[in-house]
Symmetry: D3
Subunit: 291 residues, 6 copies
């Protein structure tokens, strides 16, 4: 019995956070290994289901992970990367779309529905809500490579998302954009999550991937920063203290924080319940970026 009372007291510890975030929109970007391991996917969706039933309104944006590469390989479509971006010709775009929406998105939607959440999958093609155009890299190095159907968002109409939220549904978005001729584009999931968060004026944008935050000294795990100001992140980016996949994540966070988002989180999706711990405890388990 004592064990049970202790359990109940843990529920009570979450009360101030539940109260504080009740009715607020959280945009959660799911990527990395979490999308590969079914058990981990199950766990993360369970955490998101709990947020949903506690009155928080999550919106998910997800990447595709290694499934796209695997399918390309299986179909003998050659894969090329330029500066971390997948060169996306017409054949590749077809595969991106089929895997991202026809497989990954279905897996997330199904996992959530298993917990009683009414999840609904979308791409930016639905109601043409994510208007996009061909992405033209600005740096000198990339200028010669045609990235094909890699796109950037030009406009985002939130009506479909807010209609679904108002109906009690949970939108799960695969970041495929669309232009006025009906051409689909492969959009970076971090960037898409940032735009969705700012357009919805979300309370939080949570980047759930394979790293658990920013470090004062990248080689010393003890130096993880619990909280960091957006301005300092900007400085670090300018001074090129940050590298690799963390760059688009941080750029997406900064852009959203500049445009109506309240706070952003960098979080490790591989750690059990990292999402709940970041939101329902004071010190958190990742890095919180604020204005």
């Amino acid at each position: 019995m004592k064990k049970w009372i202790e359990k109940a007291s843990h529920l009570i510890e979450a009360l101030p956070y539940i109260r504080r975030f009740c009715g607020k929109i959280f945009v959660v970007k799911c990527g990395g290994a979490a999308l590969v391991d079914p058990q981990q996917l199950h766990n993360i969706m369970q955490d998101i289901a709990l947020l949903h039933f506690c009155g928080i309104r999550p919106v998910i944006v997800h990447g595709g992970g290694p499934d796209i590469g695997a399918m390309c390989k299986r179909l003998q479509i050659p894969t090329q990367f330029s500066n971390g971006l997948r060169v996306t010709d017409a054949d590749t775009m077809e595969i991106v779309q089929m895997v991202l929406f026809g497989k990954t998105n279905r897996a997330l939607v199904t996992a959530l529905n298993q917990f009683g959440v009414k999840a609904v999958g979308l791409t930016g093609q639905d109601a043409a809500f994510m208007q996009s155009k061909k992405f033209i890299a600005t740096s000198d190095v990339d200028a010669d490579v045609d990235l094909g159907f890699v796109g950037e968002i030009t406009d985002l109409d939130t009506t479909l998302i807010t209609t679904l939220l108002a109906g009690g549904f949970l939108p799960v978005i695969a970041p495929i954009g669309i232009d006025e001729h009906g051409q689909a584009y492969n959009i970076n999931a971090d960037t898409a999550a940032g735009v969705v968060a700012s357009k919805l004026a979300a309370e939080k944008l949570v980047m759930l991937s394979d790293v658990n935050g920013l470090y004062a000294n990248i080689d010393d795990p003890e130096t993880r920063l619990h909280v960091i100001k957006a301005a300092l992140v900007k400085t670090w980016l300018n001074e090129k203290h940050i590298s690799g996949g963390m760059i688009p994540k941080l750029q997406a966070c900064l852009h959203a924080l500049d445009n109506g988002l309240s706070s952003a989180h960098i979080l490790d999706g591989n750690m059990p319940h990292s999402l709940l711990l970041e939101i329902f405890t004071d010190q958190g388990v990742g890095t919180l970026i604020t204005n």
Copy 2:
């Protein structure tokens, strides 16, 4: 960190219950020692606040406890009981009303609001929603005693309660009824809770008092019944296996179960988090009565 992950996993254990009861109405009757000890009152209101923020819609009905007697004594108004019911003359009725609504109800409302719940206190006089009449005892023994302004409910209009629930408020009801001449009546809180639960077609009626359920053998604490059928409770009442304050509680539960309520609980308010444990675990810590 391991401790934290364990804590989070306790939150997750509550998920199936939160999901199941989301949007449902729980009528909680608060009585007994819980209303006397400020710390206990604080704890129970905290549990109710958690239910509220998890999407459950609690409605509270409360008794007055020893405060009424204390004030009568302080004002030298003689107190008389007949068959467990307070003989309520005009002077006593005035004190009942002042203490029950002007003191106890304010304490509950204030405690809930401290947790961010928008609690609103009511008596049956507000919008005259609890129509009542003088209670006439039917048993031979009582026939000679005039109980004064002890009343019974003749009709209950739920419009005010549902207006408040729809606005996100939590109604806290002191069981004072009213008749067509504006006369106030002292209504038994258990009975009132039962009528409120059935008229709202509530999911659960929780009787929170000083006892933690029904026993096969009242002298053996090991024989507490986790679940019991309403029909058996009826038999036990008819065969007079039950005595004292448990009788009106069970009668109220049976009446509500006969009129739209889904399930009733007898629970010990003195046990920490008994409300959460009864609702968020399978075996519970009280007695569940079902049809």
Copy 3:
């Protein structure tokens, strides 16, 4: 029959006023002897019920009157006044709350409901709608006296009131404020009525007490002013032409007129139907203050 036709023609005389005020909010402050004499209370509530059924939306704020003093005396709690304000220690605050809400408020609510109005009683503790803090007197004289739990309003959330009005209910407010620690405060009813009126952007604030207006010459009953400009009232207050209980009433009116109220009235609650006569006739029976 002729008598009847004459009666009907009196109804018709009210038509232009009913038409003009249809759907408008009137905040009526009830205080003084009117709260003591049951017949007078009945009459005033009847007038307010008529306004309600004619499409006007009244909101009542009431004081406590002599009942509080009587109860303090009965319980041998010493009463002390400083500059017209009741020194309110913890014991006294408990009595204020019990009498004001558990007795006076119940009497008003019941009287209104007798006329078919759906009146609902509130204090600032309900949904914590009247945020308050300890009142610190600014004048030198009072500086040494600790007034205890006498409070002043720091913020007023009208959501609960407007939810009730939208549902067709009539809010009856006992002016007890609340701070962030759950401490209750005794708020001056005139001041509270003024804040409620300005926050609701009311059409009228009616101060119903024992005096029937402002006089050019206080000793000459013939010199009552039917209308006076707020600016002149301000001058009179600065020049100390006004004294006693009229000061807070006028200050409340001026504050509300400065913050969205359209017009304020000083009216004698002892005069039969003074409320109807002030509203439904051109010359009125009190003093109208306008910007």
Copy 4:
């Protein structure tokens, strides 16, 4: 001052009736001399405006009165009556429509708007809400006369009326019906009022004309019946105790009382404020017919 207080007390006398009829629909049929004399029209519309502002929802159906005959005469269109019904050929129908809607209806709408009511005129042609067909007299006597475009209602769609009521408008209906070919029909105003009242499930149908009720002995003004049961009216009609224009009025009342109407009134529009007196006093000034 005493006079004023007396006036206010007359307002208060109306309170129980205002309360009772608040939100209810009253269908008022205006006909007879009241439509001829501008002063009388003004008075009746003023009474109706008062009902409107007291929360009652009046719907007016009006006849045409002598104006139609006058215009026919002026245009030298011969007028023929058969059994009290105007034989309505195509020319006459055009005149009926122009005078009834282009003149009488405009006068009523304008008079009401002068009192601040938002009155809106309609015929059954608007939104084709009053579906009709040629009236075929059933009695032997009439069988040989073709009444032309005299019609009877076959269906009534209340959507337009309820849309206007919900918007706070007061519908004023000229009883012109329409068939599926767009042909207009002249409908008896009493009959139309009865159908409107029953389809709206009105609280009251008031027949305002030149007679003030039913008499036990038609020759003795002292024998006016204040209340009469519908069943007895039926008997009287069958036994041919009733004659002339009273027959269609009573038939319309009985039909509506059989189909959802609560009560019907026969009232003299020439008597000042007869409408208010019938509604706001117990004994009334006409005859009330109830089931």
Copy 5:
């Protein structure tokens, strides 16, 4: 079959226009010969019905045409014109009202209803929505002639129109204004249509009369302008290049284009389907005036 496929392809040609104007308000002024010839009236109403069912929201304002003159003649009321405006004494105003609303308006409403549209006729007297005053001609020539009850609009309350549109009804407005004393005024239909269009912030104002647009050279039918800028129309009016009935039409268009209207059209109502052709083809069949 080939014929049928071709027919269907004509429907498809209209798709981009239907899509573009879906939900937009079109104010159509109907005047001239179209109101005289029943077949033409039928055709125009059919076109408007099609717009209505394609999701466009038409509002009709109509003139009276020769019917008013005919009735005046029949009733031997002398007719006088001053500068193109009918001198409207009290007798004439009564005839204008009866014919315009009791005859013409009924014909339009009935024709529309035949196509399943729920048309509802109005004048500015309904809900007093078109506040007006006596029109005082400003030019020297007219100064001596009293035009009687010719009026100009002082204010227009769109609540009644928008209530009807929201309910799916189609308003058909006869331009009779009203002043605060209840006096009716004869308003120029072109002017009224312009005010209605600007107050509703309509997408289009269509002037449907006997001319099919503006000409560079009035004597050369080949010089019709498909599109013209409002500024140029202004210049032409100032330079008196325009004459006769076209002047008020163009003034109404310019006034509305200055006050929220998007585009205006001058169109020949006598040409079959001119309304559809102007809206559903690029080059149109009249003259389009834009800012």
Copy 6:
């Protein structure tokens, strides 16, 4: 010009049909060659867009066509059919899902959005709205073959579809069902369309495939039936007059007609504008089945 007027008159011919079906739900099943040829897909979606903008509310259910087989072949997954049903093992189910939703559905959604329609793609996995279970063939012949994840619908929750329709969106459904364990099932598109149509109580179910109806004599194209009673279709099915892919189509139609659908159509998607011709002409170009 004459050509234009003729075009406009073709629009007008559609008016009675547009009027009749305004606001009604049409479920259109798209299958066969129409899904393969991009031009044909474009044309059909254009027709559906026109219906949408004319106020009809289409809901699309689509099959997968030859794309699934092509992808299976490309990935060297062996394809097996049993009695016309694709044997669907886990590998095949993954391909079905990716192609059907990640490719075909995206093509339909994109084509519709090009015409300004706000189309939104769904499978029965979204909000788990199409509850399904493993399909067990009942005939003796099939009993030995395990069809794998071929499913049948056990329950269909229309909330998601009606939420989207109410928001002005057009749902495009790929018939993948889901069971309580999250297992996806391949559902026959004809059957799914029938269930969707009956659950939505649709006005019409249109089966758009490669055949243009039912024939009295299958070998004589002149004997196509324009209309046939459901009872006769039932007889023909029982007597095995029907064969091949037409059987499930007709069974789906009959099931829906038995459960709330008004009428069903068998239509050739290869014929230009067959959808418009069937709906907007009296004789139609397919076969209409009615109760």
